[in-house]
């Protein structure tokens, strides 16, 4: 089994390194490094977006949740699709029309003040690091459980791989690694789906019947995972609006030539990833039915191995050749998934460090093109080293809760300032600072006081604080705006931002 997984994984790794070599020769300018020259097609960006969004948390996590907690897992998964409606309808096209490389670009374009960019880039870095840690830890845990490779070895390996992809191949390599991974992920999900359905005579109702007979109707009712009723709404809100504040997703819209292509790429994403999320309900229930919750829990208390175990069962069970082959394939795809997502996060973070902090805040834009690319590559290495160090530090801790925190911070910190920059005339630099400060503090503090971190001793009853911290983030932004006073010049600038954002004037390629 180990040898087989390693062989399949090495093949995937080889393909991604060839991609990186090919992309590195086409990555010379800053625009090529951060945005693949802005020349991707809708389908390419759509597959890459789907790759970014179908993280290991989705591939392994959603199936695991559906297997252990029934309906709450499926509700979680559909939220990840609805997340993109707000981005499609309101955010992606204006973002494409007013930004270049990073999320903070949009805010800086509106405010023309380095302080606004500085506040915005802090939100980006915090969200990315919180998202990065559980991905790194996931790679470590998975390698240990499935291959017996020590945690620290796989952390260092993942960190090296992502630095190589990003530092040499920039956005072009990151994109194609995502595309390869999305295709692998979707194919394995479809194979598992068809196989499961075939066992039930292509009648999903029979699957539900089987699960109900085995676990009782309570299993298919809501409330098994999220005990606090408000948590359901809070999770829904953070997905529906917080996704627009995830920098590694949003920078993908800079890789296409215009708003129309950005729009089309979201449609690709919504059908690819949406179908995939729907499949996780079926594969999750099938894992509960065939593998059994006891065995899933025994393999990993978080349920993350439900899907690999289902694959093993379908292939013929533990110890058989088919079972080993299936398990090896799914495990290798899961590794590839983690590598691709950490590469996207690394690129987004080094963009915030190099483009936002170094070039625009510290040097006020006075940096030569060649130097900019070099700085971007150096910050990629710095981010990689940091990710390895953090991954090693959190060994043994349950970091899955950080994913919830990351998206809550995105919803409470990044989302309000993006929306207000694009749609509110009076919004100003002190509003950006107020929004970031209040949104960041309230989401982090409330999450740290909640059951996700304190368990039984929680002082705040919600795992996901978005339902409270997002309104607080907006309130901080509005309060900051009023405290900053009116600025005619800034308000007149809103006309330009609105005109360009909504029409794409000046952003034609």
């Amino acid at each position: 089994m180990r040898v087989l997984t390693i062989v399949i994984f090495l093949v995937i790794l080889g393909v991604t390194l060839v991609i990186t070599y090919w992309a590195a020769r086409r990555t010379r300018t800053t625009s090529e490094f951060y945005a693949a020259g802005g020349q991707l097609r809708a389908a390419e960006n759509g597959f890459a977006l789907a790759g970014d969004w179908m993280s290991a948390a989705a591939f392994l996590g959603f199936s695991g949740l559906a297997a252990l907690y029934g309906m709450d897992g499926s509700l979680y998964a559909v939220g990840a699709l609805v997340a993109f409606l707000g981005i499609l309808l309101l955010i992606a096209e204006p973002l494409r029309n007013t930004g270049r490389y990073t999320l903070a670009d949009v805010i800086a374009y509106r405010m023309q003040k380095p302080q606004a960019r500085l506040a915005a880039l802090i939100g980006t870095i915090v969200v990315n690091i919180m998202y990065l840690i559980p991905q790194m830890a996931g790679a470590g845990v998975l390698a240990k459980l499935l291959l017996g490779i020590p945690y620290s070895v796989s952390i260092v390996f993942s960190g090296l791989a992502m630095v190589v992809y990003v530092a040499f191949g920039g956005m072009l390599a990151t994109t194609w690694v995502q595309i390869v991974k999305a295709v692998l992920l979707l194919s394995s999900a479809i194979i598992l789906l068809v196989w499961v359905l075939a066992l039930f005579g292509f009648n999903p109702v029979a699957l539900f019947q089987g699960v109900e007979t085995r676990y009782g109707p309570e299993f298919l009712s809501p409330g098994n995972y999220l005990k606090n009723p408000l948590d359901q709404l809070s999770l829904g809100l953070s997905f529906a609006l917080g996704t627009a504040g995830l920098p590694h997703i949003m920078i993908r819209f800079y890789t296409v030539p215009d708003a129309k292509t950005a729009r089309k790429s979201i449609i690709w994403l919504m059908f690819l990833a949406g179908a995939f999320f729907m499949i996780t309900t079926i594969t999750g229930l099938a894992a509960a039915y065939f593998v059994g919750q006891e065995e899933i829990l025994a393999a990993d208390p978080g349920g993350n191995l439900a899907l690999p175990l289902l694959a093993q069962f379908l292939g013929g069970g533990a110890g058989t050749l088919g079972g080993q082959l299936f398990l090896a394939f799914v495990a290798a795809v899961a590794f590839a998934t983690i590598l691709a997502v950490v590469a996207g996060l690394t690129l987004a973070t080094s963009g915030a460090v190099a483009h936002d902090l170094y070039v625009n805040v510290i040097k006020r834009g006075e940096v030569e093109e060649r130097t900019q690319v070099r700085v971007a590559r150096i910050s990629t290495i710095v981010v990689g080293v940091l990710a390895i160090a953090l991954g090693l530090l959190v060994q043994g801790l349950n970091v899955a809760v950080l994913v919830i925190l990351a998206i809550a911070v995105a919803a409470s910190t990044n989302f309000p300032i993006i929306v207000l920059s694009l749609f509110w005339r009076r919004f100003n630099t002190s509003g950006v600072i107020g929004g970031v400060t209040v949104g960041l503090l309230s989401s982090v503090v409330l999450a740290l006081l909640g059951p996700g971190f304190l368990g039984e001793r929680a002082l705040f009853s919600l795992v996901n604080p978005t339902v409270l911290s997002m309104p607080l983030g907006f309130a901080g932004a509005v309060l900051g705006t009023f405290l900053g006073g009116r600025n005619r010049e800034n308000e007149a600038r809103f006309d330009e931002v609105a005109f360009r954002a909504q029409t794409g004037a000046g952003a034609e390629s």
Partner: protein, 125 residues
Amino acid sequence: MADPAKRDQARTAPSAESADPNVDWSEAARQPSFRDLISAKVKFLVPLVIFYLVFYLSVTVLAGFAPSFMAQKAVGPINVGYLLILATYMMAWIVALVYIGVANRSFDPKAERAIEALHARKDDA
């Protein structure tokens, strides 16, 4: 992959530094073609955003506060909750396709007219 020749052209997306001082943007934002685009967008997008948010958040609120309603059997062993989740998938896909249609047919031509009017104004000046 786009052809390499095209890739070499630097994209002309505006940067934070490229505010065009030669255009009176307040006037541009007042021109009828732009107002027309904005009012079309507001009229279509505001109800659509409210619809999808209310739809999806209602499902999460029902799951939180009306679990027994969600657990009622609807189709054999499948309960109301799972059907609502399935409906949410359908809703998301339909809303996305409806938006694409309207954006292509109505918003894009209106945005083009607004840009043309802007250029015409620039040439006059």
